[in-house]
Each structure stands twice: as C-alpha cells, then as structure tokens.
Point group: C2
DNA sequence: CATTTTCTGTGAATGTTTTCACAGCGTTTG
DNA sequence: CAAACGCTGTGAAAACATTCACAGAAAATG
C-alpha cells in the first residue's frame, strides 16, 4: 500500500515537522511542508493519506499529531538500536555522526576484524570482534545493521548478520548483496551517486529539478 | 530518454563489467549481468538499449565494447575532478575512500572553514579556505562537488558552489537544497536511508526483494 | 447571512518504469 | 540440412508513481 518512496518521504516529513515543532510552529499546510521537502503539495497530501491522518481545511495539519501519526504508521520504536560492522574511515565517520546528534537512531555496538580496535570504545561505542556478533546482537535485540566493510568481505559479513537475526541492512560497500527475502537491504553507494551527478552535471537539460 | 535509475544502473553495469574484464571474461549475457547487478535480464537489455549498443544472440555482449559504449553514452570524462566542501568526520572518510581506490573520480580540492585544516594537505588533498573556492574551482575546471558540511551551512555553501560554476552537487547534509534548474543535486541522506531500512526491517512483507 | 477564499481529501488522468512475451537469428545437434 | 536451442531486441501490457482538478468544509469578509 505504501510505496518505498512514500516511506522515505514520510520520514523526511517527520524530521521537518520535528524542526517546525522546535520553532514553536503548531500547524502546517501541505504546500508549506511540500516546499520544505522539495515535493509538491499534492504529493504531500497523498503521502499523508496513507498514514491515515486527517488535517483540517482551515488550519492544515497539526504538527504534533501528524508526527505522532507518521510515527505510528512507520511503527518503528522511538529509538532504534543499530549495529555497525566495519570501523574503518567510513565507520568512524558514521559513529561520530550518530553520536548525540540523532534521537531516532543509536549505534549501540560496533564490530571489526582489526584487533587494534576490538575491545576498545570508539566515539562512545564499544567495538567487538566479529566472533561476538551473534551474542551481542541477540543480547541487545539489534535488528538493523550498517555495513561498512571492504567490498570483498561484504557478502560474507552480510551472511553473518543475517544469521545473527538482522532483518535490515544499510550497505555502504559498492557491491550488490544477496540476502533472503525477509531481509531488507538498502545500498548507499557513493560512487553510483557520483556517477549520476556527473551525468547530470554534464550539459544535459533538466526538466524537473527543484522548483524555481 | 534515459531515466535517472537507468543512469544509475548503467554505471553499475560498467563497474561490474570492469570487474569481469579483470577476470578475463570477454562476453557476458544479460542474465549474468542481471544477477550481478541485482536486476532482471529484461531490465538489463532495456538499459543497454538506450546506450545504443547491440550484443549478439549467440555470445551476448562483448565486455570491452559494452563498457566503451556505456562510457560514451554517459559521456563523462574518464576521470572526473571533484571538490569536497566540509572536511569533518564524513569529509575525511570520503577523502580516504577516494584516495587511490577510485579510477573514475578524484577529489582534487577540499575546502573548510576551520583554519586548523586550511592550508594543510589531508589524505593527499590540499585543503583551502572557502574564500578561495571560486578561484580554485575555476582554475581546475571543477564542476562537481560533494557537500559534507553541517545542515545549517548547507544551503549557503551550496549557493557559493553554484556561483563558482558547479553544476552537480552530491549533498550529504540532511537538508533539502534549493538550486537553480541547471544544477543537479543528489541527496545522500543516511538518516532517511536508515528510516527506510527500519521500516522494512519491522515485520512487513517483502514481495520483491532479492531473488532467491 | 451570503459570498469569497483557501485549504484538505481523493477519483481520475497522466506519466514513468518494469515486466512480459515473442519474433528473429546465429549456433549447435542429430 | 533441418530441427532445436538459447539468446537479443523490442512492441505491448502491466505495475507503479505523480499530478490534476474539483467537491466539500471551515474560516474570513462584506
């Protein structure tokens, strides 16, 4: 019923709403949200339809209530515990990025093969050996992992994550992973993104970029 | 003519083909490429259609020639010079990631506001002040930038990049950027990606994940 | 209190992307 | 050499996503 892109936008709306709330805004119209999200008003309304929330024609959407509804629809816990595998350059950047800054996601365990790293606490997060993976993930009931290992080890590591009960993987390795049906894999491939940027940056015409 | 996602997949194919070539593979069928790319054979054939290359029914696609054709279609220079703005945790990770590893993209200039960083060479890349942005970008004919600054400064920095002649931005800040029509912006938003993963990782049914 | 305005929610239209399904053709096989 | 096979290229269908356009309703206006 809810498309993948709708999911993405809903979480974006939630973040924007959070910001609005901090600014003391209590109500918001679809076109305002649309402007913030880089979408159209119609799309915002459609997206909000799927979560089942209704605004009022007079005052638009109530910020707090809408946030609540979206949260309920996405039905993820208020705080998600996430594991990080691979504490290289990227892994450390991710750790630093998520420490403190994020209320929704918390990296609660890190893993690496490098024995210089294992056993230590990096950016406030304990780094374990891969052997402890199953144990730690089970103990902390972690179901989401970020995978930031070298390409060659990505598939093998993903398998171990799946065995350890992970059902969602955010994969940073520039490799396509195989995983069973019930495990969701999303790729964040910087190179692929750069390729797209490079393509569009070359003198092609863009009909439908950001609104003027 | 070519959709955004086709562009993405084409660059993925090219990368995969590069790997195959290194392994001494000379010919490849659409279903093999599909398996590697996590797509369907029909999709691979459609994508290849748009670049104008034709394989043979008997031996599939010629690896080298197909790579060549895709490259010609994407019509980007063999090596792309890229600027990095924001040398924080993420920025340094990106620098480290692209140093040496990538043949296609090369970060040739970095920029930051922190005077502890400016003037120094980090991961083999000179770090300039933002004031030098226009000058350096013009001198090196850089048209692509990665934006890894804090959310609050993202829009302002993007504006300066646009003024400096950049036509493609890969934005890592969790903020929607406004840019003129002729500038392409692609967002890499880790939080949004994580939200999607979290949603799907929760007990929802996936009809169409990776093939078994 | 009638009119105008401005918003939501949504059916229908439109646009885009993926998949199906098969003709056509070299290659292999009997 | 004829039949069978397995592949590509592609028109057509299906699936999916976005936008249009308008009814209905609450507030503002005169």
């Amino acid at each position: 019923m809810a498309s993948n892109q709708t999911i993405g936008r809903l979480s974006l709306y939630r973040r924007l709403l959070h910001g609005l709330q901090s600014d003391g805004v209590r109500n918001v119209y679809s076109h305002q949200l649309a402007r913030l999200a880089g979408a159209t008003a119609a799309q915002v309304r459609r997206d909000i339809m799927v979560v089942g929330y209704s605004g009022s024609a007079a005052h638009g959407y109530e910020v707090g209530a809408l946030m609540e509804s979206i949260g309920q629809f996405l039905d993820t816990a208020p705080v998600q515990r996430v594991a990080l595998v691979g504490v290289g350059n990227l892994g450390r950047a991710l750790l630093a990025h998520f420490v403190g800054r994020h209320h929704r996601f918390s990296i609660v365990a890190a893993f690496d093969v490098d024995t210089h790293k294992t056993g230590r606490v990096i950016h406030g997060c304990r780094c374990h050996t891969l052997a402890e993976l199953g144990e730690v993930l089970a103990a902390q009931e972690i179901r989401i992992a970020m995978l930031a290992v070298p390409p060659g080890e990505a598939q093998e590591t993903a398998n171990r994550l799946v065995d350890a009960g992970v059902t969602g993987i955010l994969n940073f390795a520039p490799v396509r992973l195989w995983a069973p049906r019930n495990v969701y894999v999303e790729d964040m491939d910087v190179t692929m993104a750069l390729e797209r940027v490079a393509y569009h940056a070359g003198n092609h015409v863009h009909e439908k970029e950001r609104v003027t």
